[in-house]
């Protein structure tokens, strides 16, 4: 039976799914839901989650001493090393199991959560190393496309034209010029890995992918579209709506790569123009008032179109051809 | 601090230049020092280590350490030994060796060979050439011993690795190690990995080094 809101409510209406109330994330933030969806799936499937967190909004807001919004084992080490840290925890688990110090049937699920800064940028090496080594863990990036914890600075994930404090839209420059780094492909290139994109607006797809990750014999990487209502300059109630637009415009295509086999999990036959997504968010407002706005939008649209075509082609080409 | 390390006494290590001439030499403090010259990859480091292990089995205190740079295979390199009846406290490099061992005679013109030597120092060279040639090439004033270690190794082992032959020569010339302890080491190192035959070949090479080394008067 696939997980859905009704089933989950029955399971979790009177208990916290690892993360509790009383955290201090901004009202309407997408990140707590990314966590909730992942952990509810794990618990519903009989796993006990153990969480590692990279420095970032989620970390800062959920563990302000002496309070913790985690009722499961939790470790924050530093900004750039959550993957290495959780690889140590996971290895300790294997060591303890091997030595019979914990029961052989104990099912722990190791999660690492990080923002895009801790994933695309400063934490990329640690992530790549841990995935290459094949630790059994699920790495989830809540991708809000910037260093939002410290007030909206540019990251490798920030899209072109988005106004940030370190790549602001100015009189001369139209904000960040570079395309968003394609972290999903980087991670998929590790080959013995399960990689997927998810969005809050597609909870069933989200949870199915977490389920797959839990069952995958090796590391998994999940990229979650995660609106920062504050610095994307949308109203507090718009996180899910923004994700929906991202999916419908193909700005955020939903797909998975399992050992090199591509599968587009949500086919969008009549995608809406990317301009709809861009125009829905205040972070692009300064861009839109520039004469070259259309050029930037066209560039993104062109990229989005080509990427989707490529994904469909890859799906076709890699069908039943796992790399290992 | 170990009890035995206190009250160090001066000890003398005796070594023979040849069978007839016994000589007692007082080495700096109580330590016999060896400097090895070779090329990286030729096995001077392993030889110095094996010598240390054999000396340890004889109840000596030992050190073996190479000099490290960023050199690659073929570059001139040095390795060192210290051997003593007492615990060795020194951790500086060997400055005035009692014995200089040259694994590769193409290194003889290198002035490093002579560094810190005097007329008391002994030089053992792996070469097919004569003692006179070595003296002329190196300008060394003290006792020179030569042994065709590579040739012997090729004959006995089928490989030009002169280490065990050189150890035989050192045993003969200095007495700081004795053949039977080196034999045991050879057995330890090769028996499990390569079997009896390789052990015997190496022991033959060791003995030939001992027998065939020749020294200046």
């Amino acid at each position: 039976m696939p997980l859905n809101a009704i089933e989950l409510a029955k399971l979790f209406h009177d208990k916290n799914p690892g993360i509790t109330q009383g955290h201090r994330m901004c009202p309407g933030c997408a990140a707590p839901n990314v966590v909730k969806f992942a952990l509810m799936t794990a618990i519903a499937k009989g796993y006990e989650p153990v969480v590692g967190l990279a420095t970032g909004c989620l970390e800062v807001s959920t563990t302000i001493y002496p309070y913790t919004a985690w009722n499961i084992p939790y470790i924050h080490n530093a900004f750039e090393n959550v993957a290495a840290t959780i690889s140590g925890v996971e290895t300790a688990f294997r060591a303890a199991k091997k030595r019979g110090e914990i029961p052989a049937d104990k099912k722990l699920a190791f999660f690492a959560f990080a923002g895009d800064g801790g994933t695309y940028d400063i934490g990329l090496q640690s992530l790549s190393g841990a995935v290459e080594r094949g630790h059994k863990f699920i790495y989830i990036v809540y991708d809000n496309e910037g260093y939002m914890n410290t007030g909206n600075q540019r990251s490798g994930s920030t899209p072109p034209g988005s106004d940030t404090t370190t790549a602001p839209v100015g009189k001369k420059l139209p904000g960040k010029a570079q395309l968003k780094k394609n972290i999903v492909e980087i991670m998929a290139a590790h080959e013995n890995v399960y990689v997927a994109t998810v969005a809050l607006s597609e909870p069933m797809d989200f949870m199915k992918k977490i389920e797959k990750a839990l069952e995958f014999d090796g590391p998994s990487f999940i990229a979650a579209h995660s609106a920062c209502v504050r610095f994307w300059r949308v109203t507090d109630d718009k996180a899910v709506e923004t994700s929906k637009l991202a999916v419908e415009t193909l700005y955020w295509p939903l797909y998975e790569v399992e050992r090199g086999v591509y599968r587009v999990t949500k086919k969008v036959t009549n995608p809406r123009p990317v301009a709809d997504y861009i125009k829905s968010q205040g972070r692009f407002k300064p861009l839109l008032s520039r004469p070259d706005a259309q050029e930037v939008i066209d560039e993104i649209q062109e990229y989005v179109n080509r990427r989707y075509e490529r994904l469909l082609a890859l799906e076709e080409a890699t069908k039943d051809k796992p790399i290992r | 601090m170990l009890e035995s390390m206190k009250n160090l006494r001066i000890v003398k290590i005796s070594f023979s230049i040849d069978k007839n001439e016994k000589e007692v030499r007082t080495v700096p403090a109580n330590i016999f020092e060896i400097r090895w010259h070779g090329r990286a990859g030729q096995g001077a480091k392993s030889a110095s280590q094996m010598l240390a292990e054999a000396a340890l089995d004889m109840g000596k205190y030992v050190q073996a350490f190479p000099e490290y740079g960023a050199e690659r295979t073929g570059a001139p390199m040095k390795a060192f030994n210290r051997i003593s009846d007492e615990p060795i406290l020194l951790h500086s490099s060997v400055e005035t060796p009692n014995l200089v061992v040259v694994i590769d005679d193409t290194l003889l013109s290198n002035p490093d060979i002579l560094a810190g030597t005097n007329e008391e120092t002994v030089l053992i060279v792996n070469t097919v050439r004569s003692i006179e040639w070595v003296r002329q090439k190196s300008g060394f004033k003290g006792k020179i011993c030569v042994v065709k270690a590579t040739d012997i190794a090729l004959e006995e082992l089928g490989r030009g690795t002169p280490n065990t032959v050189m150890l035989g020569a050192i045993a003969r010339v200095t007495g700081v190690i004795e053949l039977k302890y080196v034999e045991d080491k050879i057995r330890d190192m090769f028996l499990k990995k390569f079997g009896e035959e390789v052990v015997n070949k190496n022991i033959r090479a060791l003995h030939r080094g001992y027998e065939e080394v020749t020294c200046s008067a």
Partner: protein, 116 residues
């Protein structure tokens, strides 16, 4: 705020050994808009419960089925995401925002409740 403890009374390493004690922390004071639940329009689809980032939706199981029972205002930060994802917020015919009296969740300014 709890009483600030001296260094000898704290667990070592800055560890927090009381799991999920953030539940003591009231985030309801952050609210400027208050969601008002209109039970008569609710279809109990659990979308509000699923998406509430602060787990502030009260649910009760009746005959094996989850029923929405309103809000835990101790935690609700008033983001309005629940109202946004609520299917009753949209008129199924016009696809336009439904009139307030037809909705299951209505957002009201917190100032309306200043006398409470």
């Amino acid at each position: 705020m709890p009483e600030l403890k001296g260094w000898k009374e704290l667990p070592i390493g800055g560890l927090i050994v009381e799991p999920g004690n953030a539940k003591q922390y009231k985030t309801g004071t952050w609210r400027v808009m208050r969601p008002i639940y209109q039970a008569e329009n609710c279809i109990h689809c659990m979308q509000c419960w699923l998406y509430c980032p602060d787990q502030a939706i009260v649910v009760e199981i009746v005959d094996g089925k989850p029923k929405m029972r309103g809000y835990n205002y101790y935690y609700c930060k008033g983001c309005g995401l629940c109202a946004n994802v609520c299917p009753k917020s949209i008129d199924p015919k016009t696809k336009q925002p439904a009139p307030e009296e037809k909705r299951a969740i209505v957002m009201k300014p917190e100032t309306d409740f200043a006398d409470e």
